[in-house]
């Protein structure tokens, strides 16, 4: 209870004995806090609500009383109102707190492993811009929009404080349906040499080291019972082989390339907001994004979108001079088209010179599943 004496209280000093002062106020049903006696003077605290009553009582008995401290709320407000800076500061803080508590600033996305966060973020930002000063968010519509995305089974949207929490639940990977009722042979899909072979059911017709052609039967869907009798069965197995894949491309004498003309437009955006339908006067353009600091003291960051005008230019290919460049470019380009589970062994190339054109043939030797 004595804690009240420190705040919203009045500290008074009077001349007299502590016992007399204490008993005097007790008699008038007034609580006093922290009474201290020092060199003929008694100091004590009284609650602000008793202030007027205490002053009246003091005037009756003690004429030389003195109010040392007045920490009542009224007194604090009145004394601080004169300080314009403090009042303005408090006003600004109040406005900022009100605005900040009403606007949405953050976006928290979790639960996604396959679907990229940027894709989800785009869907959310299309529906509800962030930062947003609109307190209302239609969560049902946003959930429906999120479910429309491929790979998302369900989603939950919750807005707490100035953050939108989004939790997505992704679809489970689909299990392949194997039809075991129809009896089909396991057939090779490539030309190559068998390196590894596992037969789960059926009769294997090839072995490791055998050369196979596309369409050759690797595992027969029949099991021999004795010399004449055979039974149909579901053929299954994994066959890996060394395969050579050929990719061919024709490089013309002249190629169309894009070049910057030098004309550009700059758009600055704060708080990570993307420009919506920017008015760019160029037919062809490319965008470059960079972050700029507007002020060192406040650390005001802005996104700078630069739109460069592009024009199409015909450029000679000069294959003989840039042979290594084209070979590397097309080798890297076609390597992405190879089967995802294959093991790359080596690659080589061959150049055929045609009339005003060059035919570049790239060969890849890989080890892959050939069934």
């Amino acid at each position: 209870m004595w804690r009240f004496a420190l705040f919203d209280a009045v500290k008074i000093r009077i001349r007299g004995s502590l016992t007399f002062v204490a008993n005097y106020f007790i008699f008038h049903n007034i609580n006093i806090y922290k009474p201290r006696y020092n060199e003929g003077y008694v100091t004590f605290f009284v609650k602000s609500k008793d202030k007027n009553k205490v002053i009246d009582l003091l005037k009756q008995k003690f004429n030389d009383y003195k109010i040392i401290e007045d920490t009542t709320i009224n007194n604090l407000v009145v004394s601080n109102l004169k300080r314009i800076g403090l009042s303005l500061g408090l006003l600004v803080i109040t406005i900022c707190l009100y605005v900040m508590s009403n606007c949405t600033v953050n976006l928290d996305i979790k639960g996604n492993e396959i679907v990229p966060t940027d894709t989800i973020k785009e869907v959310v930002l299309d529906f509800y811009e962030i930062p947003n000063f609109n307190k209302k968010l239609d969560t049902r519509k946003l959930v429906n929009n999120l479910i429309m995305l491929d790979g998302i089974a369900s989603a939950s949207v919750d807005k707490r404080g100035n953050t939108v929490f989004i939790e997505v639940y992704e679809e489970l990977p689909k299990v392949p349906i194997i039809d075991k009722t129809t009896y089909k042979d396991v057939v090779s899909a490539y030309d190559g040499i068998i390196t590894r072979m596992i037969s789960y059911s059926g009769t294997p017709l090839k072995k490791v080291g055998d050369t196979v052609k596309c369409g050759d039967v690797l595992i027969k869907s029949k099991i021999a019972l004795g010399e004449e009798l055979s039974v149909d069965t579901y053929a299954n197995g994994e066959v890996y082989g060394r395969v050579c894949i050929k990719k061919e491309t024709i490089i013309p004498e002249m190629l169309v390339a894009t070049k910057r003309t030098g004309r550009k437009i700059e758009i600055n955006k704060f708080f990570g907001v993307k420009p919506k339908n920017p008015k760019v006067p160029f037919e062809h353009y490319e965008v470059e994004l960079c972050q700029i600091k507007l002020d060192n003291t406040l650390c005001l960051l802005a996104n700078k979108y630069v739109y460069y005008e592009l024009e199409e230019v015909l450029e000679p290919t000069n294959f003989k001079e840039n042979e290594s460049f084209y070979v590397k470019e097309y080798t890297d380009k076609y390597i992405t088209t190879l089967p995802s589970d294959c093991v790359f062994l080596r690659s080589w190339y061959n150049v055929k010179l045609l009339d005003k054109k060059v035919c570049l043939v790239i060969y890849y030797e890989i080890e892959t599943k050939i069934t």
Partner: protein, 89 residues
Amino acid sequence: MDSFYDEMMSKLYLDKDIYLDFRVTICAFKGLYVEGHKGIMLYNPNRIVINVTHKKNLEIIGSNMVINEIGSAEIFIKGNIKNVEVCLV
């Protein structure tokens, strides 16, 4: 449910009327709480005398004792308390 005092009085087989005039609670000889006092008779940091009934005084002896709060019915005293006595006037 009985209060702490009611339970204590019942365990000591005492009448409840006995403690109606005043109560004293000592906290680890560092603080003291008196309920139902009639005023303060003497105060100095080593000795405090409190009037509890018209015939009895409560004498608290200790060191560095200060009054934290004093009201019409209760007193909070803080300090090193050595002895608490009820003296007949």
